[in-house]
């Protein structure tokens, strides 16, 4: 898949001396949903703001859909939409006026049909003439998305899109994001909800203390770093792990009543094979439990392993 955003050696240091981003290289593929994960203050928003032109990079360059974001900023920015983390809207404006304003600001001629359709897709039709100050937080979030999409961008940045919204709206947002991807929009989202990335992302990037720790296909990440954990509850206690099972590195727990084993996430045959061998040894099993590590487990593990101080 071709790259639509190319981030090359981009770093950011503030005048105060704070190093917000170490040199970062990242390619975002056309049409994908890319989730950027990281703890607070990791540099996610700084990176997004650099690509969108809000923050000036200290070094490096960014190419958006073939256009340098500094030298050819008009062409680059026309292709990018941004939904910022904060709900920053003009409270006194109507929904229609603020979305139309955004479209004009990004150099697009008025198109009432498009804006009408956009508001309909975001369930905002009934609120088109309402002042933004009269809307709920969730509705305001939708307005922010409508503003970002008003100029028909090919790339959409969603900075914490579901922060502070209820479960129902979060599901709606996910559906909306999937719908946009189907229409060919490339989506880069940052989120604290790992579940969100797990649910939607094609690829995941983890950023910590200004460094890009890893970029991986979500499925590959789950295979590579994910673990499967098996617990066998036995009918009668064992005094030691049978020698025939030594290769499995089993642990005897619960006063000999449980056998525990951890497999790599990529292993598909480990559990059936172990169960077969236990059965061959006529060890009676009362019950079994399996647990697969989630993206959240992997994320926490990655962040805490590489930078222990993150755990406060």
């Amino acid at each position: 898949m071709p790259s639509i955003i190319s981030i090359q050696n981009v770093s950011k240091s503030y005048a105060s001396g704070v190093r917000a981003l170490e040199p970062i290289d990242l390619e975002i593929r056309k049409g994908e949903i890319f989730a950027l994960l990281g703890p607070n203050g990791a540099g996610k928003t700084t990176l997004i703001n650099i690509v969108c032109g809000i923050v000036t990079a200290s070094s490096g360059r960014v190419i958006a859909d073939g256009h340098d974001i500094v030298r050819d900023y008009r062409a680059a920015r026309t292709r990018i939409g941004l939904v910022p983390q904060e709900l920053t809207t003009d409270s006194f404006e109507t929904v229609w006026a603020t979305v139309s304003f955004s479209r004009g600001l990004f150099g697009r001629a008025p198109n009432p049909d498009y804006v009408t359709g956009l508001l309909r897709d975001l369930s905002l039709s009934a609120k088109r003439d309402s002042s933004i100050m009269d809307l709920s937080g969730g509705m305001k979030r939708r307005v922010m998305i409508a503003k970002a999409l008003s100029h028909e961008p090919d790339i959409l940045f969603l900075d914490e899109p579901t922060a502070g919204v209820d479960v129902e709206l979060r599901r709606d947002m996910w559906n909306l994001v999937r719908g946009l991807r189907e229409r060919g929009v490339t989506i880069i989202l940052t989120t604290h909800y790992i579940e969100e990335a797990e649910e939607m992302a094609d690829r995941v990037g983890v950023i910590n203390k200004g460094s890009l720790v890893l970029v991986e296909e979500k499925a590959a990440l789950m295979r590579k770093f994910g673990k499967k954990h098996l617990t066998l509850h036995l009918q009668s206690p064992l005094t030691r792990v049978p020698a025939e099972l030594a290769a499995w590195r089993l642990e005897l727990k619960d006063q000999g009543l449980s056998l525990e084993c951890t497999f790599d996430g990529g292993s598909d045959v480990g559990i059936p094979l172990l169960l077969h061998e236990v059965s061959e040894l006529s060890i009676p099993i009362k019950d079994l439990e399996t647990h697969q590590s989630s993206l959240e487990d992997i994320f926490v593990s990655l962040v805490s392993e590489r930078v222990p101080s993150v755990r406060s």
């Binding site: 703001n49 032109g53 923050v55 008009r74 139309s100 479209r103 600001l105 150099g107 697009r108």
Partner: protein, 260 residues
């Protein structure tokens, strides 16, 4: 060598301009009615109550003499307030992110915000002129130059207001320069008197006040009489324009208080 491309985000400029004008229309009482009432009160106090007891200044009745100064006073105040608030408020609320991430150049941003602020001020100046004509008989010796002076001064102070809006970190700073610098300079700049009426030492001191040149030049357009050389007035106006543009250019180039 690649050809030079001329690009202009007309839709973007129009969107900001329309937004700013719409804001003024939403607050019509504050934008238009309040300045008109304030100016009318000046006419009642200085024109009718005090002016009737004063002799003519430079051959012009006192009530008519203060009209250019009053228009300039309103123009300075409103241009500063409109332009500074226009850019400060998005900074304050955070909506500036949208302007900074849009495909719009700094020059276009300035044209939009300053153009809107200056348009509102010019409209206000015209309304005050019409209001004044209800109180005193007016004549305008150089109407085209008067219009040019009106527009140029509105643009100048809107540019200055734009700089203030970019510079200000809070509401107090936003009010600081207009209250502590511009208003005193205007009152001491001959809005209500000719500097020829001052003792020689004060008159000489007044010549360091740039507002003297603006009010004098504007009054010259009305009555053909000025406190200072008219070319100096136009030169001062042009100088202010260039200085404001230079400061704004530097702010956008460096991102001072705008971009990290």
């Amino acid at each position: 060598m690649s050809p030079v491309r001329f690009e202009f985000n007309g839709h973007g400029v129009w969107a900001i301009y329309k937004f700013e004008v719409a804001r003024a229309l939403r607050t019509l009482v504050q934008s238009l009615v309040t300045p008109v009432i304030t100016t009318s009160l000046y006419f009642v106090v200085f024109g009718a109550a005090i002016g009737s007891r004063m002799t003519a200044v430079s051959g012009v009745s006192y009530g008519a003499f203060i009209v250019p100064g009053l228009i300039m006073l309103a123009l300075f105040t409103e241009s500063l307030a409109n332009a500074s608030f226009g850019i400060f408020f998005p900074k304050f609320t955070g909506t500036i992110y949208e302007v900074l991430s849009a495909p719009i150049s700094y020059i276009e941003i300035v044209i939009a915000y300053v153009g809107a602020a200056a348009s509102k001020s010019v409209a206000l100046g015209i309304v005050i002129l019409l209001t004044a004509s209800l109180f005193v008989p007016l004549r305008i010796v150089h109407p085209l130059l008067m219009a040019a002076f009106l527009v140029l001064t509105a643009v100048n102070f809107s540019l200055f207001g734009f700089v203030l809006g970019l510079w200000a970190k809070g509401w107090e700073q936003l009010q600081l320069i207009p209250t502590l610098v511009v208003t005193p300079l205007t009152f001491l700049g001959g809005a209500f008197y000719s500097i020829d009426m001052l003792p020689p030492a004060w008159r000489a001191f007044s010549l360091f006040n740039p507002v003297v040149y603006l009010i004098s030049g504007f009054r010259w357009c009305f009555y053909g009489k000025a406190d200072v050389n008219i070319y100096l007035s136009f030169g001062m106006t042009a100088g202010c324009f260039v200085a404001c543009l230079a400061v704004i250019g530097w702010i956008f180039k460096t991102g001072y208080r705008l971009k990290n």
